[in-house]
């Protein structure tokens, strides 16, 4: 028992980061699952992170209020982004979202009152593992409910074939707008979670590095199911830590190689509902053939 507790203590910060990354990945998954490739999770996280940090530091708010407000902030930012970007064609939108990430850093660097400018903000409080777990479970529950609802079905249709979906009465614009709102709310939470786990944030925190790794987590874990985002984030966070014990110099390289291997051999990621369906069909075919033989 003691060894388990020791193990837990040694790795609790890794678990915390894995959960934060899972929230980031889920925020990206929210829009990716409707066919939108967007890096804007980072922007929503920045809004949520700086907002919550200031609310706690300047107004002494408890985390239980600061976090939901961070989510609201993220959601509002998402509404604005969706309004501006959803008219763009897929590829241009992806690039525009990247440009927005770049601009966000510039804005953050030049608003020291809000963000501490170049020096960033030190955050004296830390969100506990238990609190993070609650947040992640709630968010996971939301995604579970979404996947079993009419929204989930509509989202899958829009992702696979928006033109066909529209002739069935499903509005791709409406579905993707809702997706952006979800992405914003979850992203805001993720940003707050990151701020209160790292205990230091600066404009560099919410930048391209995170943007790329969070989308990589989503795809590696499986971009066709929400649980994949959690798995992908866990792997992406745990892998460097595991490598540290084996070959310290290559922790980051290991992430890149893992991602590369998955993209080449399992491009739909680790968790893929369709693969299960294909296997079942293949088994049925083999059974039918052996019956006929």
């Amino acid at each position: 028992m003691q060894t388990l507790l020791d193990l837990w203590a040694a790795h609790s910060s890794t678990v915390a980061f894995a959960m934060v990354n899972a929230l980031m990945a889920l925020s990206t998954y929210a829009v990716l699952s409707t066919g939108v490739l967007s890096f804007t999770t980072v922007v929503f996280a920045a809004v949520g992170g700086f907002l919550s940090a200031q609310l706690v530091a300047k107004l002494g708010m408890p985390l239980a209020i600061a976090f939901p407000l961070a989510a609201v902030g993220g959601g509002l930012a998402a509404a604005m982004v969706a309004g501006a970007f959803l008219k763009l064609e897929t590829h241009w939108m992806a690039l525009a979202s990247l440009a927005l990430v770049l601009i966000t850093r510039v804005v953050a660097l030049n608003a020291p009152v809000l963000t501490g400018g170049v020096n960033g903000l030190v955050i004296p409080r830390r969100v506990s593992l238990g609190e993070l777990t609650v947040v992640l479970v709630l968010v996971a529950l939301v995604f579970y409910r979404l996947s079993r609802s009419w929204y989930g079905l509509a989202a899958r249709a829009v992702r696979e074939d928006p033109a066909v979906a529209s002739t069935m009465g499903i509005s791709p614009y409406r579905v993707q707008f809702i997706a952006f709102l979800i992405s914003g709310v979850v992203g805001g939470l993720a940003g707050a979670a990151l701020a209160f786990t790292l205990q230091f944030i600066s404009p560099e925190t919410y930048f391209i590095g995170i943007a790329f790794t969070m989308i990589a987590s989503t795809v590696l874990g499986g971009s066709f199911h929400w649980f994949g985002s959690i798995i992908g984030a866990a792997i992406f966070t745990a892998l460097p830590v595991a490598m540290q014990a084996v070959v310290p110099a290559f922790e980051d390289v290991a992430k890149g190689i893992a991602l590369l291997v998955i993209m080449i051999f399992l491009p739909r990621g680790l968790i893929d509902p369709r693969a299960a369906g294909l296997r079942r069909a293949a088994r049925a075919r083999i059974a039918a053939e052996s019956n006929n033989a």
């Binding site: 525009a96 770049l102 030049n110 989308i215 990589a216 795809v219 980051d252 992430k255 890149g256």
Partner: protein, 295 residues
């Protein structure tokens, strides 16, 4: 007046770096249809190879630079074949290629950090030309002249290659529809390899020159170039090398002029805002054509 002219030349030189990188990046996007997140690392690595060629072997500057350029091209080919070729065979789209390029960005960036031991290395002052050219009343560092000349030569050369030669026609054909191109007798494989090498070499050249002129050979070199080069490609127009060149110079001049009045990050903000505005309002850029269709 003299100061103004010298500042303008500074801007043009800086912009030439952006343009040079952008040409390489744009080649991959326009002809191969790939948004390559790893492209910046080619520039970083080219600078690193050039640095070590100088440091370990005492190679003269042109040789070291050439080594860097070749390294950039080679890495680009390797990445293309390992990361993108399997995807091509499968017909995967933009997202797949992007994620795979992110994988390589992680790998190459991390390795670059180790190669430089996470420091910013500087080319020793004796290793590259440092004379000042006297042009009328102005004094211009000869490196700036080299940078600007490189851009002009490369931009012209690549433009002529793409527009006026059979190889260039093959590149455009493959970029548009590689199956049709193959049916027409184009060896897609070779064309792709050639395009990748050229793109990597051009951006590698930008990396080497940037490393010299900014005294900063590190794994962050590529990222800076990439963002500005990417902006140059979008603002100038994806298809046309000349557009990238003009836009890159324009961005460099704007940046240097703005430096008088604004902080560094604000200057960057201007570039990124222009980038965003063009993406939203005029994706084809200043010089691109309206039938630009990347599936």
């Amino acid at each position: 007046m003299q100061l103004f002219l010298e500042q303008t030349i500074n801007g043009v030189a800086l912009g030439s770096l952006y343009a040079l990188f952008g040409i390489g990046f744009g080649l991959v996007f326009a002809t191969l249809g790939i948004l390559n997140a790893a492209h910046g690392t080619y520039a970083s690595w080219a600078a690193i190879v050039a640095y070590y060629a100088l440091d370990w072997y005492g190679a003269p500057f042109p040789v070291a630079a050439a080594a860097g350029v070749i390294a950039g091209g080679t890495i680009a080919v390797v990445v293309d074949q390992i990361a993108f070729q399997p995807l091509r065979n499968r017909g995967t789209g933009l997202l797949g290629a992007l994620i795979t390029s992110i994988a390589f960005w992680i790998i190459l960036d991390s390795l670059a950090g180790q190669a430089t031991e996470h420091q910013a290395l500087a080319f020793p002052a004796t290793s590259y030309p440092t004379r000042m050219l006297e042009l009328g009343a102005m004094r211009v560092p000869i490196m700036q002249v080299i940078v600007i000349t490189s851009l002009v030569v490369c931009a012209t050369g690549i433009y002529l290659l793409i527009q006026k030669t059979l190889v260039g026609a093959a590149m455009r054909a493959v970029g548009w529809n590689s199956v049709a191109a193959a049916l027409g007798g184009v060896n897609s494989r070779i064309v792709i390899l050639l395009t990748a090498f050229l793109a990597g070499a051009t951006s590698g050249l930008a990396g080497v020159l940037a490393g010299v002129t900014t005294s900063n050979v590190s794994f962050t070199l590529g990222e800076g170039l990439m963002l500005k080069g990417f902006a140059a490609v979008v603002v100038g127009g994806f298809e046309d090398v000349r557009g990238t060149a003009v836009a890159g110079i324009m961005l460099g001049v704007i940046e240097v002029s703005a430096a008088q009045y604004l902080s560094t990050s604000f200057r960057d903000g201007i570039t990124y805002t222009l980038l965003l505005l063009f993406l939203m309002l005029r994706p084809r850029g200043l010089f691109g054509s309206t039938n630009f269709l990347r599936a």
